[in-house]
Symmetry: C2
Subunit: 205 residues, 2 copies
C-alpha cells in the first residue's frame, strides 16, 4: 500500500485502540445477573440492539435507521475523557457539555479528517436533539437506563435516592416519540412506587 | 395500545432483557487498560465501530453496511447459552456449531416471529459465511481479537500458548477481504514473534 493509505489505516487503528477505553467507563446502572456496574461500551451495544427491535413503535416517518445506529454506537465515546454523568446529577450535568465537546474534538480527530468529520457531525446531531433520528436515539438512551432499573429492582434509583417524579420528568420525552412504550413504562413506574423503590419528594428536595 | 401490540412489546422487552446476559460472557481477550477479560457485549460494540471506519479497505463492491452492522451486533448472542469458544480451542470448536444453533433457536424465538426470523436469517448468513457481508463481518471479528492482542502484549496468545503459525492460519482470510490491512497485521506479527509472544511450534504440536 502507498504511504497515504498506510497512514490512513494507522489513524483508524489509533481511533479503534482509543475506543477500548470506553469499556472501563462505568455507569450507575447495574448489569442484572451479576449486579456489577454497567460500562458505556456494553450499554452502547445494548442500545444498538434496542434500535433493531423497537423502532416500529416510534411515531415518525422514514427514519434513517443506519444513522440512528451510528448515533447510538458513538454517542458515549466522549465519556473516555469526560466520564459518565448520572442523569439525576444536576451539578455534574451543568458542566458536562463543555467537557464533552472538548472530548469529541480530541477523539474524533484521531481519525482521518473525512471520517472524523462525519462522526463528529452525527455526534453533534445527537446532542442537538432536533432531528427525528436524534430524538429517537435520545429516547432509546433514556429507555435503556429505565429498563436496567426495572431489571435490577431499581438499583441505580435506590442507590442514588431518586424520586419517581424525577424519573418521570427526565424520561417524559420518551412519551412523545414512543407513546405505547411510555404507557407501559408508566404502569411499571407505578408498580415500582408501590414496591418502595423511590425516594419520597421530601427526601430529595 | 391494543393487546396484540402490547404482547409484541412484551416479547421485545423479554428479548432485550435476555441480551443483558451477554455482558457477563467473558472472552480470552483482555481490555488493554485494566487487563480484565473482555465480554462479548462490549466486543460486539467494538466490532460495530470497526465496521464504521474500516469498510473502505474491503475489496468488495456495494456492501450492505446496515446488514454488516446488524450481523456484528447479533453474531455472539448465542454465547448467552453456548459460552465463548476460544478461536484456538480445537475441541471446543468441534462441538460449538450445534450448541450455538440451539441457542439461536431459543433466543431469537423470544422476539415476535417476524423480527426473530429476520435476525435468525442474518445470524445464519454470518455463520454460513458465503455472502460478501458475512465474509466481511467474519474478518472484522478475527481482526478485533488480533488488535486486542497487539494492544495487550499478546496476552491471550501467551496465556494460551498459541503459535504464530496458528495465528496466521486462523486469520489468513482477512487477507482475501482486506489485503492492505492483512499486510500491516503480518508486519506486526513478525514484530510480535521477535518480542517472544508466541509459543514455538514444538510446544504446541
Amino acid at each position: 500500500m502507498d504511504s497515504s493509505s498506510d497512514s490512513r489505516l494507522a489513524r483508524q487503528f489509533a481511533f479503534l485502540t482509543e475506543l477500548d477505553k470506553l469499556k472501563d467507563i462505568l455507569r450507575q446502572s447495574l448489569v442484572a445477573a451479576t449486579r456489577r456496574n454497567e460500562n458505556s461500551a456494553e450499554h452502547s451495544w445494548h442500545l444498538a440492539m434496542m434500535s433493531l427491535v423497537l423502532l416500529e413503535h416510534v411515531h415518525a416517518e422514514n427514519l434513517d435507521r443506519l444513522r440512528i445506529l451510528k448515533m447510538l454506537l458513538i454517542h458515549d465515546i466522549v465519556e473516555i475523557d469526560a466520564g459518565d454523568t448520572f442523569l439525576y446529577d444536576a451539578l455534574g450535568n451543568a458542566s458536562k457539555a463543555e467537557k464533552e465537546k472538548a472530548a469529541a474534538t480530541r477523539i474524533f480527530s484521531l481519525l482521518p479528517p473525512d471520517q472524523g468529520g462525519e462522526l463528529r457531525e452525527i455526534w453533534d446531531e445527537f446532542e442537538a436533539e432536533t432531528t427525528p433520528e436524534a430524538k429517537c436515539a435520545q429516547c432509546l438512551d433514556r429507555l435503556q437506563a429505565v429498563l436496567q432499573n426495572f431489571n435490577t429492582d431499581g438499583a441505580a434509583w435506590r442507590r442514588n435516592r431518586v424520586s419517581k417524579q424525577q424519573v418521570v420528568e427526565r424520561n417524559r420525552k420518551i412519551g412523545a416519540m414512543m407513546p405505547e412504550i411510555w404507557a407501559v413504562v408508566e404502569r411499571r413506574l407505578d408498580e415500582a412506587e408501590q414496591a418502595g423503590w423511590f425516594a419520597t419528594e421530601a427526601a430529595t428536595a
